[in-house]
Every structure is written in structure tokens, then in C-alpha cells.
């Protein structure tokens, strides 16, 4: 799968327009889910965060985890990353992901010390920790990751001298340098202006079309309606998961977000009709 994906990245010249993104790239590995969540419950002490969450993520899908603050989206992500244990139930990763070498993670913020100068190249290369590679392979992986996010020209620049949007792209490049099958992102668009958000999501959508599976935590319904193939809606410890077309409808979103005005989205209009 990785070879196919790598070849597809090298040869990909034409990017599908947004409206054709409903069907992700299907391949043989698609038969086994990349991630299978079974009756997963999370709790901090006696406080239950999530109860009996179950859904499957297949290769090439673009998932948005949506919900208000404190609904357990980031806790769920932390559980997938192995940072907090499940109270009940379990999640199963595809065999190729079990070593975690092919899982990329983009945190919401960088916890590095801002007074410590670090070049973009050095920052991205830290994404290769835990992967044994030859120097030439490391160089190739670095070049690939920087190129994917149009960061080659910034390679020697200090990470801290970049704008917020550029820094976020560098964090994505740090995840991509592992050549992941599965990319997990924690609110990557927070604090970015609309143009930068849009550019970042376009890059992610291109990568998804080239075979990458993405699971992204977000508050932004507008972005979800534009880019998600699937969504998981987190609300009061419960999770509704399914295709964006099925779940991003006015009645469901009203139930989730109360009386908040909903963004324009084709699925919502369909539901009205």
C-alpha cells in the first residue's frame, strides 16, 4: 500500500476538484479497516468522557471529529495515540499500523521552547524518531515532506520566524516525513485565518485523494461540510459516526449545536428537500 501511495504521490499531477471528493481511493487494503473502534469508553477517574463508541475508518477516508468543547474529541484522539487508556472496549489498528511507525500526528500547538532556534528542516526531521533509516532515505523522506507542503524554500529558516499558517504546515510536514498511512490531527486550523485554513485543507484533501487516511479534530462545521467524507459527532459522551452526507444534516446538527445558525452545506439542503 505504501509503495502504491508513494508512486501515486510522485505521479499525481492532476488534483480532483472538491466536488469529486466523495469517493476515496479504494485499494485492496480497504477491506480491513485501518481503525476499528469497538464499544470504547473513556473516563478520567469517575467522570465518564465517552461511552460505547463504535465505528470504522477505512483507507482513503477523510474523517472530521466534530463537537463542542469538552465533548471528548481530543481525549479520544489521545486514546488512539496511546496516551490514555480505554476504560472499556478497545480499538484495533490495521496490522501495518501496529508499530505506529506509519501513523502521523499533528498536534494543535507546538510545545517546543520558542527561545530555542530550530530550522524547519531540523523540526521536520524530528518526525523520523523511532524509524530506523539510512541517511539517504532520511534525506529523501525530508525532501518529500517539505515538497508536499511547499516548504522546500523555507528549509533553513527558523521555525519561530514563520507565520502561524506556515508553522502549521511545518507541523504537518513533520507528520508526513514518516510517510504515514494514517494522519491524526488535533484542531489544526485553530488560530489560522480563513485563507490559510483553506490552503491547508486543500493540501490535506489532495493528500487524502492520493491515498492518505485522515482523522481530524475540529470545531468547524463549514470545513467539515467542504472536505469531510465521514464525520463523528461527539455529544454528551455519545458519538454518532457515518458518512458526511448522512450526518451533516440540519436536524442532526441542530440537535448537536442547539439553535446555532448552521453553515451553508449541500447535505443540509438535501435534507431540507
Amino acid at each position: 500500500m505504501f509503495k502504491e501511495w508513494r508512486q501515486s504521490l510522485v505521479s499525481a499531477k492532476n488534483i480532483l476538484p472538491v466536488e469529486q471528493r466523495e469517493k476515496p481511493v479504494i485499494n485492496q487494503e480497504n477491506q480491513i479497516p485501518l481503525l476499528q473502534v469497538e464499544n470504547l469508553s473513556l473516563a478520567y477517574g469517575k467522570r465518564v468522557i465517552l461511552e460505547n463508541v463504535s465505528f470504522e475508518v477505512h483507507a482513503g477516508e477523510f474523517w472530521f471529529l466534530l463537537g463542542s468543547n469538552g465533548m471528548g474529541k481530543t481525549s479520544f484522539l489521545n486514546c488512539l495515540l496511546g496516551l490514555i487508556p480505554a476504560q472499556h472496549g478497545a480499538y484495533h489498528l490495521h496490522p501495518v499500523l501496529r508499530s505506529r511507525a506509519r501513523i502521523g500526528f499533528v498536534p494543535q500547538q507546538c510545545s517546543f521552547n520558542p527561545s530555542l532556534a530550530t530550522s524547519v528542516r531540523e523540526f521536520v526531521s524530528l518526525g523520523l524518531v523511532g524509524i530506523e533509516t539510512h541517511k539517504s532515505e532520511r534525506e529523501a523522506a525530508l525532501h518529500f515532506a517539505l515538497q508536499q507542503l511547499n516548504l522546500t524554500a523555507f528549509a533553513q529558516r527558523n521555525y519561530w520566524s514563520l507565520s502561524g499558517g506556515q508553522q502549521q504546515r511545518v507541523r504537518v510536514a513533520r507528520a508526513l516525513v514518516r510517510r504515514p498511512y494514517f494522519l491524526l490531527m488535533d484542531e489544526p486550523t485553530n488560530g489560522l485565518d480563513l485563507a490559510v485554513q483553506s490552503a491547508l485543507l486543500e493540501d490535506l484533501a489532495r493528500l487524502q485523494h492520493e491515498g492518505l487516511t485522515i482523522l481530524l479534530v475540529s470545531h468547524d462545521l463549514q470545513l467539515a461540510t467542504q472536505y469531510a467524507t465521514h464525520v463523528a459527532l461527539f455529544n454528551s459522551g455519545k458519538v454518532q459516526a457515518g458518512t458526511a452526507a448522512d450526518l451533516l444534516t440540519t436536524p442532526i446538527l441542530k440537535q448537536l449545536y442547539g439553535t446555532q445558525q448552521l453553515p451553508h452545506c449541500p447535505h443540509c439542503l438535501t435534507a431540507h428537500v
Partner: protein, 278 residues
């Protein structure tokens, strides 16, 4: 000046070499302390290590068992308390922050060391000696201990530099790459504790604390990449201790304090240069 130093070499070479090895090793460990901006933690660990030495001396006086006051016992006690302090100071306790815990360690170790030895003969003098730093008493045994520690430190950095760096700067990210945060946390605490605990009895708190943080702080201002700290930091530490020892020998100053003064001056110099550049 240099001739004076060479003529003193035969008598003091274990102290000189030990002092340089302490500076070299601690400066490399200090890269991670400075990278995480944990300056105060290193002071607390050094102070806890001093408490370990004070406790050993007190036990030997209180129980009459001379072994407690032996070099080996004092070294073990210093290392033990430094490791414990490094382990505890990297965690918040309940709702109190890491800084609060670190402050508690520093203050309780400072007052504890003084209280333990106040009523013993030469006790207060010994505590002051630990705080003030004196490199003169280092032996050949100390020298070989630090040769071993320096080799271990270089090996670990060559082999695990990136993993250590990622764990230090971003433990959550490190965990997602498959690194065991718990294991690396314990290793880092042991490494810092060992570095400080081994050094404190030989070179004192002032020299230990200075070598941990000042070379890396100077290098941080000079380097455009974290990776360069790995070789710039020990060069600065060796330059400062080399110059400091020669200067101190010629003008009859304490070498530890002169080295610290050189490092402090270098830091002011790079602050000034950077301010001009910016």
C-alpha cells in the same frame, strides 16, 4: 600565566582533568535542561544532591559509623537524592505546578542540609564548602569516574540524540512515535541525577549549576539549530573551564568561581552581540 599552570600540573592534574570532564559532561546534559527551560530544576537537583552529602555526614557523626562519611557513601547519597529530586521535579503534584514542586525541593533541601549539620563540628563549614565549590580535592578515582560518565554521555547522545530531544521538547509527540514516555522520563531523571550527584561532592553546587546551564545558554544564543548545541555547548564549557583554571592558578583565585565568572561574562557578551544584531 600558562607556564605557572604547566608547573602546577603534576600536583593538581586530577583536579584539572576532573573539572574539565565535569564541565564537558554537565554542559551536554544541560542542553536538555536549557532546551526545556528548566533552569530552576537543575538548581533544585543540585541542592538536593548537597542535602544527600550533608545527610551522609550527619549519619556518620550521629551513629559513629565512619562508613557513612566515606567518599563512596557520600557519592551514593548525593546521586540518590539528585535522582529522586530529578524524578519528583518533573511532575506536578495534585494541582501544584512543576515549579511549585521544584521550589519545595530547593527550599527543603537547602534548609535541611544546614539544619542537619549546624551543631556538628565543621558541619556548617562543610555545607558552605559544598555550596561555594572547590575543585582542589578531586582524586584520580574521581577523574576516572568522570571519564566513564563522559564516555557514557557521548554514547547516549550519538545514539539517541533525536529521541531524547523530541522527548524533552514534546513528550506527547514522542509518545505518538512509539517512544515510552515513562521509560525516557526515568532515564532522563537518572542521567541528570547521576551527572549532578557525581559532580556535587567533587566540584560543589556553584560549579555544577553553572556548568549545567550557562554553556547551553550561551550556545543557544549562537546556534541557529538545536543540533549545533551538541558540539558548541561543550566547546564553550571547555573553553571557560580551561581559561578559568589557568587564570585562577596564576592569580591564586578559586578555579570554580573563575570559570563561573567567565561563563557569566560570555553570556552577557552574546546577549549584547545578539541585541546589536537584532
Amino acid at each position: 600565566m600558562f607556564d605557572d599552570f604547566v608547573s602546577s600540573w603534576g600536583l593538581f592534574y586530577p583536579s584539572y582533568i576532573t573539572g574539565w570532564l565535569v564541565a564537558f559532561s554537565l554542559s551536554l546534559v544541560g542542553v536538555f535542561v536549557v532546551a526545556k527551560d528548566q533552569i530552576f530544576i537543575s538548581a533544585a537537583v543540585a541542592q538536593a544532591s548537597s542535602f544527600g552529602v550533608a545527610l551522609g555526614l550527619w549519619l556518620s557523626l550521629a551513629t559513629g559509623i565512619a562508613w557513612f562519611g566515606s567518599d563512596v557513601a557520600l557519592m551514593n547519597s548525593a546521586v540518590l537524592f539528585a535522582v529522586l529530586a530529578a524524578l519528583f521535579s518533573s511532575h506536578s503534584i495534585r494541582r501544584d505546578s512543576v515549579e511549585a514542586v521544584t521550589g519545595w525541593i530547593f527550599l527543603s533541601a537547602s534548609s535541611g542540609a544546614m539544619l542537619l549539620l549546624t551543631h556538628s563540628p565543621h558541619g556548617t563549614e562543610e555545607v558552605h564548602r559544598l555550596l561555594a565549590s572547590s575543585l582542589i580535592g578531586a582524586t584520580q578515582f574521581d577523574m576516572w569516574v568522570f571519564v566513564g560518565f563522559a564516555v557514557f554521555t557521548v554514547f547516549m547522545l550519538l545514539r539517541y540524540w533525536q529521541a531524547l530531544l523530541l522527548f524533552t521538547l514534546d513528550p506527547r509527540m514522542a509518545a505518538t512515535t512509539g517512544l515510552s514516555v515513562w521509560r525516557w522520563g526515568v532515564f532522563k531523571a537518572l542521567w541528570l541525577g547521576l551527572a549532578v550527584g557525581l559532580s556535587i561532592r567533587v566540584s560543589g553546587m556553584l560549579y555544577v549549576f553553572a556548568c549545567l546551564v550557562l554553556p547551553a545558554l550561551v550556545a543557544k544564543r549562537l546556534c541557529g539549530e538545536i543540533g549545533r548545541l551538541l558540539w558548541v555547548t561543550p566547546i564553550i564549557a571547555l573553553f571557560a573551564s580551561g581559561f578559568g583554571f589557568v587564570f585562577a592558578n596564576h592569580y591564586d583565585f578559586p578555579p570554580g568561581q573563575v570559570t563561573v565568572a567567565v561563563l557569566c561574562s560570555l553570556l552577557v557578551l552574546v546577549w549584547f552581540l545578539r541585541a546589536n544584531q537584532e
